[in-house]
Symmetry: C2
Subunit: 349 residues, 2 copies
């Protein structure tokens, strides 16, 4: 897990470290990547751009300074990083990642824990966007995750899918469990799934994954008419409902009306605060809420369920599930609705 | 869920409301309690006491003002409330709570969502402690939870147990699931459980509940020698280990050494920030972490598991599980080790 790369403070994990050792030479269980582009986390880029009033030169200088000071690209204010793409340059003989020199990969672990050295001064970047052309190297540990980019896909499309690939994988796992439990118990009730933010990146993939995993009936909840129309056209959900996810009564009514019953599994994919109570209310007794939004408040979820006497299981959305990259790329390949929503989103950016 | 008691802002749930209607007359699905004591949340009392430099008169005046202004006891700074005990005065004919006039009860939903009117000006309280003798009434909704206090137990002991009764109930449910899954699969591996903060209130109950649910081997992790000795004497865990839960490497080493393997289920019961990564590292692939600490950071848990490529299920500790009060009081009755730890803690307060 890269403890030997932690310079200070000693004893913490790489993500919590102030400074990493980004030396070029790799240990037998490491992999070195020749970097071609960094994708900065949106919150991080926004903070830097706002701080410097949109002055690209100053943004570039600060990013360079962060990387050279910390040995990784972790915004000290937002704490966030991003991901990178590049090509495997050298794989240690004891690396378990299965990568070979020449593989074109995207890292699926955050830049916040990835040792990084930049060698071109970011000369090809104007400091005005999250995509940073870059030459240099990055180090992957034994427990890092990298996905080989499909040669026949637009890399930007693959990256956008890989960025959120934990959501469909965990959704599929949880839904499968309900399907299997009902089957085993001879319980013929439908398995119902609600995805809040169903037209977004993680939301649309989660809807496709839920159906693939055997959900009987699904609803995607969206906040505006344009998203409703897009999700209906994509055909990824049995029902599409309009509701403000921050309004608990509106959200739970929309879900229950669309499904006929509360959801067995509710997946929260909208990055706005205050969706916890609505998600809990929309979920059946014995159901599960999966929170993928980083705006989720642990206390609001815990106290909300208790205050509502709601017997629901609440999961912290873990971005890592074995096989997550493969599942997400497979959904992109086989579901035209997923591809359509992602392509439209990339075109709009 | 009490929406009709929300005065402002309209449309939110009682917990999120600024002001509730605490009128004495009950709806057919409500219950009115004659209040005898409030137990203020520790964080709330500390904030009020610090603000007024320990001046009990001023603390009392502010609590009275909060209750009369908001129609509930919710500290506007900490957002927290507490619980109350009292006697059922009137139960509406459509209340599902099964309470009868004369029952002595503790509320298991927070004061932050409980309509409350005080009639004695808190005249018997000196403003210097969390226990507030009080005359007045409180309203329970259809989805509220109240536990009848056992007549043969010290009410303080019962209250202390009920205050954390969600933890053992959820621990038992999760551990049972692993036991059942292994049995069904013919998988003879032991089911291992680690409880971080095992000598505390929720921790000791969780250890007892894990063993009751069929855990093969348990470890309680504690930060200091005095707690280690107390937990060893209580006999609630197979192993007791000393470690700082904020140090990921130390915590995971302690757990793995004590159990021989990482834990299938790790329960976090210590109210200090920064325990997420250690708990994740201490947990086996395919295992589950249950976070009961309100100091848990959602982002640290989500990003930590992803950064460590840890295939663990992470649960937000829900304080409500059906049957939670009964299970916790039963553990108090049948486990001398639980009783001993609780009694010692009450004596020390």
């Amino acid at each position: 897990m890269g403890l030997h790369r932690v310079v200070e403070p000693a004893g913490v994990l790489p993500q919590a470290a102030w400074r990493l050792d980004a030396a070029r030479e790799i240990a037998p269980n490491e992999v070195r990547i020749r970097v071609e582009r960094l994708n900065l986390d949106a919150a991080s880029f926004r903070q830097l751009s706002d701080k410097h009033g949109g002055d690209g030169e100053k943004v570039r200088a600060e990013v360079l300074d962060i990387i050279s000071t910390r040995g990784k690209m972790q915004n000290p204010v937002t704490g966030s990083g991003g991901m990178l793409i590049g090509t495997v340059e050298e794989a240690g003989r004891r690396s378990p990642l299965g990568l070979r020199p020449g593989d074109r990969v995207a890292t699926l672990v955050s830049l916040t824990l990835t040792p990084l050295t930049v060698t071109d001064g970011l000369a090809r970047w104007d400091g005005r966007g999250e995509q940073v052309p870059c030459d240099g190297w990055a180090i992957l540990f034994a427990r890092s995750i990298a996905a080989v980019l499909p040669a026949d896909e637009d890399p930007q499309l693959s990256l956008a899918v890989l960025d959120v690939c934990g959501a469909p994988a965990l959704t599929a796992r949880v839904v499968s469990r309900y399907v299997e439990d009902r089957r085993r118990a001879g319980d013929g009730r439908p398995v119902t799934v609600a995805v809040v933010g169903g037209a977004g990146k993680s939301g649309s993939l989660s809807l496709a994954a839920a159906r693939r995993a055997g959900a009987t009936r699904t609803v995607g909840v969206v906040p505006v008419v344009a998203e409703r129309d897009a999700l209906v056209a994509a055909g990824l959900a049995d029902e599409v409902a309009l509701a403000d996810a921050r309004d608990p009564v509106a959200l739970s009514s929309a879900v229950t009306t669309a499904l006929g019953v509360p959801a067995d599994v509710t997946v929260v994919c909208v990055d706005v605060p205050g969706c916890e109570h609505g998600a809990i209310l929309a979920t059946a007794d014995g159901g599960t809420v999966i929170f993928f939004s980083m705006a989720t408040s642990f206390a609001a979820a815990a106290l909300g369920a208790e205050g509502l006497a709601a017997d629901v299981t609440m999961l912290v959305g873990n971005g890592y599930v074995p096989g997550h990259a493969e599942l997400a790329l497979e959904l992109l390949r086989s579901e035209p609705g997923v591809r359509g929503l992602f392509a439209a989103r990339l075109a709009a950016d």
